[in-house]
């Protein structure tokens, strides 16, 4: 337990350092791109643009802005007002979008794990069978087909063909099924392949042979002695997968008109919404760090040989 606490403290330290670097780099990059948050097809009169800059503290020197904005984040947790979604502060945008992205990610991941692990186990156990070949072929397809193609096919089949689910929108369980499936499918495919590979490796180990020699049933051998060992690569993949599912939903958000935060990521950058872009970048940094730390910890739990350091 002591090394867990120490580990968490060290990780937090690294996270803060990373956040500071990310903050600095984003700050410089965003202000060096041409264009500014107030440009539009109609030229804004100079006097008005000056007032707008003052409102968002953009009239201060870059150093002053850098410090003021960082102070706001550190002391008040305030990421400022969005420059393009004027009626919203960045915190409000995140508060509205994050739960949606999170629910979508949860459903997507549960689906991916629920489908991927059994598929991988079956493939490994019945290696070379028709089931193995067809599932692994499906997995390769699942990884190769981009999710917007998958989404279009799913809409064609389940919305216009079978009429099981609504075309888009948010607010009911029915509306989350298709996006969650499309989001989870490539992850499921990866997990299936990792599980299969892990299983095949562990199945040849000595301790498995011993277990069988003891007369344990096939089921007991696979569930108790093979699966935990085979899970390690899957667990280490789940960290980046979670972050990927949270960020990678922006195409699906567009296709299924979901109010998640993925689309803000792109729009904020394109519209030079400095504050919102910064908020998104920092949020994702934190998510990535937290997910990777959780993975490291679960690694140590599953495999006694791994020590947290």
């Amino acid at each position: 337990m002591r090394n867990l606490a120490g580990y968490l403290i060290r990780r937090t330290g690294w996270m803060l350092l990373t956040l500071w670097i990310v903050y600095t780099v984003s700050f410089i990059l965003m202000r060096s791109v041409p264009g500014n948050p107030f440009s539009s097809e109609r030229t804004v009169p100079a006097a008005i643009e000056r007032q707008l800059r003052a409102r968002y503290n953009l009239d201060a020197t870059p150093t002053r802005q850098y410090i003021d904005y960082a102070l706001g984040i550190v002391t008040r947790g305030d990421l400022g007002w969005s420059l393009r979604l004027e009626d919203y502060s960045v915190n409000q945008v995140l508060a509205e979008g994050f739960p949606v992205s999170a629910s979508l990610a949860i459903f997507g991941l549960v689906f991916a794990v629920g489908l991927g692990i059994p598929a991988g186990v079956i493939s490994a156990v019945y290696r070379g069978s028709l089931a193995d070949v067809s599932m692994m072929a499906a997995a390769v397809l699942g990884i190769a087909v981009p999710n917007f193609v998958l989404a279009s096919l799913a809409i064609l089949l389940f919305v216009f063909g079978l009429a099981w689910f609504p075309a888009a929108g948010w607010g009911t369980f029915n509306q989350i099924v298709l996006p969650a499936l499309c989001l989870g499918a490539p992850v499921a495919a990866y997990i299936a392949r990792l599980t299969r590979a892990g299983m095949l490796e562990v199945l040849t180990r000595e301790h498995v042979r011993t277990a069988r020699a003891k007369g344990l049933s096939d089921q007991a051998v696979i569930l108790k002695h093979v699966l935990p060992g085979a899970m390690l690569p899957v667990v280490s993949y789940l960290g980046p997968a979670t972050a990927g599912v949270l960020t990678g939903s922006l195409v699906l958000e567009k296709i299924f008109a979901l109010p998640g935060m993925g689309s803000h990521f792109i729009n904020a950058a394109l519209q030079r919404d400095y504050t919102l872009a910064m908020g998104m970048v920092l949020t994702y940094t934190v998510i990535l760090f937290v997910m990777n730390s959780i993975v490291d910890i679960s690694y140590a739990v599953i495999d006694p040989r791994v020590k947290l350091q």
Binding site: S39, A167, A257
Partner: protein, 654 residues
């Protein structure tokens, strides 16, 4: 780690997953609205003073209402099916115009109320319009009010010695005498009125200082000291300009070398707009507007959302933009805001206290935010949407013949700006040759495909009483002659041209056709360059381009909106083009009181534009809407406005 700890960890993980699933399955389900439409991307703001753009407008027209509102007049045009929309009584039951078109008297309806139950008064309008004009509001459409005396100077913060001015002291709520200022310009600090006697300025920073410190200029202006003879107010709040005065000094920065201990800190010194008679409010139901220029389209501006009133107590209590939140906002339109969720929807419900509520049929309306055009069409086809405002370009041709497809010419034009400072485009013959060598019919029939009209002038057809100038005749043979006359026979020796456009499938297809036509017809080599929106705008505004794509939509239904942008140095000109005669005609048109004569002057100005061609017109846009056949009352209009209060649903066909 002990096996027990491991087991406990696994149990905790399992519980977490179940809890997460449970949490994710909790939806605050919202029953679908009676009527849903595609709104496009999220609205930028619901503050009428700050809003720009069609998407914002569509919602603002429903939740707020101005003195006048745009409503159908007469029957749709039998030829193109266009429904004429004109400004008609809204919050005002009637209005009178003086003979010289310079004085409008609006009489408000009796008993019109805000959604919080308080009456809508003429004071609300005067205050809201002043808010639009206040420099710190930074309203992009504030120029709609510039015809009112002193409005432009107030809006731009210009004062001169001798002006009657207002001084806002540094005591807005939340401000300390020495601290930083707040950006909440309403409620305002204490206002003093008086006559500006002198502006004392410290030495201006040198060019080097300005270069070293970008803030030097603004720091310097903050140090200016204003000397004002402050006048007294009588009991009615009127300023006694000619009465006894007291000389006081003001500055935004008390550290200014010119300030002494009697100097008061102030936000700024502006022309005393609200005390100089531009707007008169003799009683709560009367608003008198005086104009410097007799602009005939003023009623149209009054019916536009920038001039809609906002609820003063709400703005002053919550500040901007917090007053626009669904839980705070107080409005006066046929619908009221119930819910606003980013990337999801804006839900409006019928305002039962609206004076014309009997005629409003829809009970609830969803404006669904969506970025994907295909998504909108999918939702429409499966019955989740009743009105698609932006059908995907790729399938428009397929949809064109359906009964639910509405298309109409729109008051907007697609054109290519030419940078007339760069050879060879500085030569008018070259500009004319290029314009004549482009086959617009091919563009509208093979590329855009939804009934766009080829343009050879800049003002679109459809303005009542205006006949467009005579456009040029596209003619390849003549174009070649012109090019030879300009010194490039057969296109020999002409430098290569670059067409700049913002990255988009549609713009690229058009640019490619133009590229090919200029190559084939005039032997001019053309390069295409696309840029992401922000960078593209930067290039255009710095006139750092040769040829650049552009579009313009009418701000108000008057040809002036397409012409006054081309005056010398105008903020939307961006072509380096300048013509003294043109500038003179535009200014003359603004002063002309006779509407017919005015249209003739504008036509003369347009003729100069066509002869000089600082830009190449391509086509006039069409608006496209797809609306379910069970929706009654939908008619195409030239400005693509469709008040929801006119729509109803025929249950027998749904």
């Amino acid at each position: 780690m002990s096996p027990e700890a491991r087991k406990a960890f696994l149990t905790i993980a399992a519980v977490c997953v179940v809890a997460a699933l449970g949490w994710a399955s909790l939806f605050d389900s919202l029953p679908p609205a009676e009527f849903s439409l595609q709104s496009g991307s999220d609205v930028k703001t619901l503050d009428p003073a700050r809003a720009t753009g069609n998407i914002e407008g569509r919602i603002l027209f429903e939740i707020f209402e101005g003195l006048l509102k745009k409503m159908p007049e007469g029957d749709p045009d039998p030829v193109n099916g266009l429904q004429a929309m004109t400004p008609q009584p809204g919050m005002a039951e009637s209005y009178e115009v003086s003979n010289d078109n310079r004085r409008y008297t609006f009489k408000l309806r009796d008993g019109v109320r805000w959604t919080d139950g308080t009456p809508v008064t003429s004071y609300d309008f005067a205050w809201s319009w002043q808010r639009v004009l206040h420099p710190a509001t930074a309203s992009e459409y504030a120029f709609h009010l510039h015809a009112i005396p002193f409005a432009k100077a107030y809006n731009e913060g210009v004062v001169e010695v001798g002006d009657r001015v207002e001084v806002e002291l540094w005591d807005r709520p939340g401000e300390t005498p020495t601290g930083r200022g707040t950006h909440q310009n309403f409620p305002r600090g204490t206002i003093l009125y008086g006559t500006l006697r002198e502006i004392r300025k410290p030495p201006e920073p040198t060019a080097e200082q300005k270069k070293a410190n970008p803030d030097a200029e603004s720091e310097w202006t903050e140090q200016w000291l204003y000397v004002v003879d402050v006048a007294k107010l009588d009991q009615d709040g009127q300023v006694d300009w000619d009465g006894p005065t007291e000389r006081q000094t003001f500055s935004a920065n008390l550290q200014s070398p010119l300030a002494d201990e009697t100097t008061q800190r102030s936000h700024g010194v502006l022309v005393a707009f609200d005390k100089l008679g531009g707007l008169e409010t003799p009683d709560p139901r009367t608003l008198i507007v005086n104009l410097t220029d007799p602009i005939p389209y003023f009623p149209n501006l009054v019916a536009f959302y920038t001039l809609f009133p906002v609820h003063r107590p709400t703005v002053e209590k919550y500040g901007s933009p917090m007053f626009t939140k669904a839980e705070n906002i107080v409005t006066n339109g046929p619908f009221k805001l119930q819910l606003r969720r980013l990337r999801d929807r804006v839900r409006l419900v019928k305002n039962e206290d609206y004076y014309d509520a009997d005629k409003v049929s829809l009970k609830s309306v969803d404006f669904l935010s969506m970025e994907g055009e295909n998504t909108a069409l999918n939702m429409y086809e499966t019955g989740q949407l009743d009105w698609v405002t932006m059908p995907p370009e790729t399938v428009r041709e397929v949809l064109k013949d359906r009964e639910d497809f509405y298309t109409a010419p729109q008051l907007s034009v697609y054109f290519y700006r030419l940078n007339v400072a760069r050879p060879p485009l500085d030569n008018v013959l070259v500009r004319r040759a290029i314009a004549m060598a482009i086959d617009r019919v091919e563009i509208v029939e093979e590329v855009t495909k939804t009934g766009q009209i080829p343009a050879t002038t800049i003002v679109p057809p459809g303005f009542a009483g205006y006949e467009s100038a005579k456009g040029f005749e596209p003619n390849v043979a003549r174009a070649r002659e012109l090019l030879a006359e300009a010194g490039y026979p057969g296109g020999r020796g002409i430098p290569r041209l670059t067409i700049l456009y913002n990255t988009s499938e549609g713009h690229r297809s058009i640019a490619e056709v133009v590229q090919q036509q200029l190559q084939n017809n005039l032997n001019i080599a053309v390069e295409l360059q696309n840029m992401e929106w922000g960078s593209f705008l930067d290039k255009v505004q710095q006139t750092d381009y040769q040829v650049a794509r552009a579009g313009w939509i009418a701000d108000y239904p008057d040809p002036n909106t397409f012409l006054d942008m081309w005056v010398t140095g105008g903020p939307q000109n961006n072509t380096n083009w300048s013509n003294a005669e043109f500038d003179k005609l535009i200014a003359e048109a603004a002063r002309e009181t006779d509407p017919q004569e005015r249209m003739k002057i504008l036509q003369r100005a347009e003729q100069i534009w066509v002869d000089e061609l600082p830009a190449i017109p391509m086509y006039f846009y069409t608006s496209i809407n797809i609306v379910k056949p069970y929706v009654r009352g939908f008619a195409p209009t030239a400005q693509d406005v469709h008040p929801l209060q006119l729509l109803s649903i025929d249950p027998s066909r749904r």
